[in-house]
């Protein structure tokens, strides 16, 4: 059996998304900046795509800028807010300890330039409150950037409450909604979001294309200089097929948000319940307030990469936050942020489901996983020490 359970990393493209892009690769392949009809066909398709994306998040078409993915949108939003702040002498930025590296590394760069970056600590269930944001805002705060939902442990953040706080205090608010778009209801006006990032490949669209929403009146700073594309805010001939496909994929997901969420939540909860039967393991994040497809657990006494590769040999695709999956010495900053000790964080497993996963697949994972965990424990000196009482169990 083959089970793809790594949808937080990327998704399989939908038939709708694939079909949408094909005409713009061969039939209407023109450059949208060209004046001839094949170019203008492409320009028209982009205009429609912009309208569709705007409609999915409660924005206006002119507030949408297409980018080369989620990371680029995050970079551009943060750099924009920083430059606006800098002009007013405001150099304090608030974010959280468990943001994606697209945000954290951009902030780190700004820190080297003299910005003061304040990363809010995360609760043990992966929660951040609007009160934390309110308490952290200072007169010189130029940006609050808080993710909509966490990619590793699935936490859903109180974005509307944070938006209200930011609006009241007059601070720009950006949210990395890469894991949320197409999966959670988003209304940028109702939620007082000034800037928002999304990426097509997390909702069955293609990789390497994303969008940045910026409330009208916010003067975006270029990350890529070039021609007059995207109102001069993002140089480079547009990825027309990708953009059209992004819009089609987002629309399809947004049209089925509640029904998908109900289906995936049921699968997720069955999976979590089954996995927690394995001794000395624990769920990471909040059991209820989490993305419908996200399962993230730590197993004591084993290491995540081995677990992943053994699952892969059984046809199950998953992820881990272990250090050895990356070759660094530290495991996932997200698991450390919620207080998991290194020893335990190395043994993490993320399974992320989508609406195409089935109950049979969940049953298959639950049939294979316990044996693999038991085998890896049987060859682990750490497990031996835990079992013999030489070391104390943490989980």
């Amino acid at each position: 059996m083959y089970v793809y359970a790594d949808n937080a990393a990327t998704t399989r493209m939908s038939d709708t998304a694939v079909a949408a892009m094909i005409p713009y690769m061969q039939e209407f392949f023109g450059n949208p900046s060209s004046l001839h009809s094949v170019g203008q066909k492409a320009a028209e398709a982009m205009m429609n795509a912009r309208q569709t994306v705007a409609g999915c998040i409660g924005a206006e078409a002119r507030e949408i800028t297409f980018t080369g993915g989620g990371s680029e949108a995050d970079n551009q939003a943060i750099i924009t807010a920083a430059r606006i702040g800098q002009r007013k002498g405001k150099k304090h930025i608030i974010s959280t300890a468990y943001e994606h590296h697209a945000v954290l590394h951009t902030l780190k760069k700004l820190e080297k330039e003299g910005f003061e970056i304040e990363l809010l600590p995360v609760g043990t269930l992966g929660n951040i409150t609007a009160q934390q944001v309110a308490d952290a805002i200072r007169p010189d705060t130029c940006l609050v950037t808080v993710m909509f939902a966490n990619n590793e442990i699935g936490s859903i953040l109180p974005i509307k409450e944070i938006g209200a706080v930011c609006k009241e205090k007059g601070v720009l608010f950006h949210t990395d909604a890469v894991q949320a778009a197409g999966h959670l209801h988003i209304d940028v006006k109702d939620m007082n979001i000034d800037m928002l990032s999304l990426a097509a490949h997390k909702f069955h669209g293609p990789k390497g294309v994303g969008a940045l929403y910026a409330r009208k009146g916010i003067p975006l700073v270029n990350v890529i200089e070039g021609g007059a594309q995207e109102r001069g805010k993002r140089g480079g001939t547009e990825n027309v097929a990708g953009i059209v496909s992004l819009a089609a994929a987002l629309k399809e997901c947004c049209d089925h948000i509640d029904e998908n969420a109900a289906k995936v939540t049921a699968l997720r909860d069955k999976l979590i319940e089954g996995i927690l039967q394995i001794p000395h393991c624990a769920l990471n994040g909040d059991p209820v307030n989490r993305l419908a497809g996200n399962v993230n657990v730590c197993f004591e006494g084993i290491e995540g990469e081995s677990l992943l590769l053994m699952l892969d040999a059984k046809g199950i695709c998953a992820s881990s936050g272990s250090a050895c999956t990356s070759g660094s010495l530290d495991p996932s900053h997200v698991l450390l942020a919620i207080g998991r000790p290194h020893e335990v964080a190395h043994g993490s497993l993320r399974l992320s489901l989508c609406e195409w996963n089935t109950e049979e697949e969940v049953d298959y994972i639950l049939a294979e996983l316990p044996g693999i965990v038991a085998y890896l424990r049987s060859i682990s000196p750490v497990w031996k020490d835990l079992e013999s009482g030489k070391k104390q169990f943490i989980l």
């Binding site: 936050g321 999956t325 010495l329 530290d330 000196p381």
Partner: protein, 149 residues
């Protein structure tokens, strides 16, 4: 391209010499759970020959495959020959490892040396301490932590 060679995958999926030895002549344990790889090697030595060797490993595929390969390389060797086995030999026998995985394989060499030192110590065999430099933790690499998408 796959992350690991076929030889690495074979030693990871079906490792040789897994387990422990009752009343071993020497035991070595290196690494720590904090950095993500721990390796324990058990030796049975008779007449200066390694008659049996077993390992237990907490770690990634590179760590497990390196343990397995290292035990194969020292089985039946004299203690001196085993001491001469290097990390580079383990890696070469595995058909290579990705650069960022080399640090996981270093533990195999260290675990064997540590088990031999234990054997020397237990049996009052004199040796040059320079043979066993303290294995220092390499903390230099990447302060970043894993990058998960």
């Amino acid at each position: 391209m796959a992350l690991y060679t076929d030889i690495v995958m074979k030693h990871f999926m079906t490792p040789s010499n897994v387990g422990s030895i009752e009343n071993p002549s020497g035991v070595g344990e290196v690494g720590n759970a904090k950095c993500g790889d721990i390796m324990k090697i058990y030796l049975k030595i008779e007449d200066n020959i390694i008659k049996d060797v077993k390992f237990e490993t907490f770690g990634c595929a590179s760590a497990i495959a390196s343990s397995s390969m290292a035990t194969e390389l020292v089985m039946g060797k004299t203690v001196e020959e085993a001491l001469a086995v290097t990390n580079a030999q383990v890696v070469a026998a595995l058909g290579g490892l990705p650069a960022h995985k080399l640090h996981c394989s270093v533990l195999a060499e260290e675990a064997i040396r540590s088990a031999i030192k234990d054997y020397y110590d237990q049996n009052g065999i004199a040796y040059d301490p320079a043979l066993f430099p303290a294995f220092d933790e390499e903390e230099d690499e990447n302060e970043e932590g894993v990058r998960m998408v």
